[in-house]
């Protein structure tokens, strides 16, 4: 499968952005800067989804992750951190054990990826130009039960988050 030079340049640029920003998310010492780099990671990932012919997923990625999730985390940080933001995102004492376990995971992933015959798996067909129609039809026919369960899950998460984060004392004062 031949790819144009633009696709190659786009892939390497987006991959470098994603990995660099994700590394900064982990290594920044200020949690607000971490969330900023997280937003950059998410937007670059939306570009990667566009290069994978998944335009609907790219739109959802920008809306849900870069929009909702990042804003929600920043608001959560603003509620939680009361002192200054410096030194709010440090490493714990298990950094060497964590690095070792991560290296082990990478090694096992590399071993199993090397044993997989990727070339035989690849299909000859191309992705249809209009993906949204097909995804919508599949979500409401073949995958309708998971779709409804996901709606229920979101409702339960919404109610659960409100119940957990609500301050009972504030609520009692409001009643008086």
């Amino acid at each position: 499968m031949e790819t144009s030079i633009y696709a190659v340049v786009a892939f390497y640029g987006l991959a470098a952005t994603i990995l660099g920003a994700a590394t900064m998310v982990v290594f920044m010492r200020n949690i607000v800067h971490s969330v900023l780099f997280l937003a950059i990671t998410f937007i670059a990932m939306a570009g990667l989804f566009l290069s994978l012919d998944a335009d609907f997923i790219a739109a959802v990625q920008v809306l849900v992750y870069a929009g909702a999730v990042c804003i929600m985390i920043v608001l959560g940080i603003m509620v939680i951190q009361r002192t200054d933001m410096n030194e709010t995102n440090l490493f714990n004492k298990q950094i060497m054990a964590g690095a070792g376990l991560t290296a082990l995971t990478v090694a096992f992933g590399a071993i199993f990826a090397g044993r997989t015959a990727w070339v035989e798996l690849v299909a000859a067909d191309a992705v249809p130009a209009n993906t949204v129609d097909a995804i919508g039809a599949l979500l409401l026919s073949k995958y309708v039960i998971p779709f409804e369960v996901a709606a229920l899950l979101l409702l339960v998460a919404l109610v659960g988050a409100i119940v957990l984060a609500r301050d009972e004392e504030v609520q009692a004062n409001a009643d008086n």
Partner: protein
Amino acid sequence: MLTISLTHYVVLSALLFSIGLFGVLTKRNAVAVLICIELMLNAVNINLVAFSKYITPLDFTGQIFSIFVITVAAAEVGVGLAIIIAIYRNRLTVDLDNFDWLKW
């Protein structure tokens, strides 16, 4: 040979997953651990969409799965942040090393 194949996306996804895993294991702030879990879920999404393009381009299985992963991740962030806020209200800290109620 200058071409982008499935392997490139799988390698990128594995590296991103490892960065997220390293953060989950080593960060001290509970919100930072939540952020790194998001990175891991996104790495999985890259895998699913790449498999959808290269292996089952007409079935859209991977794209549908990644929609559900995004849904569950959004719910997880909401509930996780609510739990962290509730813990902060009781303990006035989000440092995971101080969350030791179950220790004897």
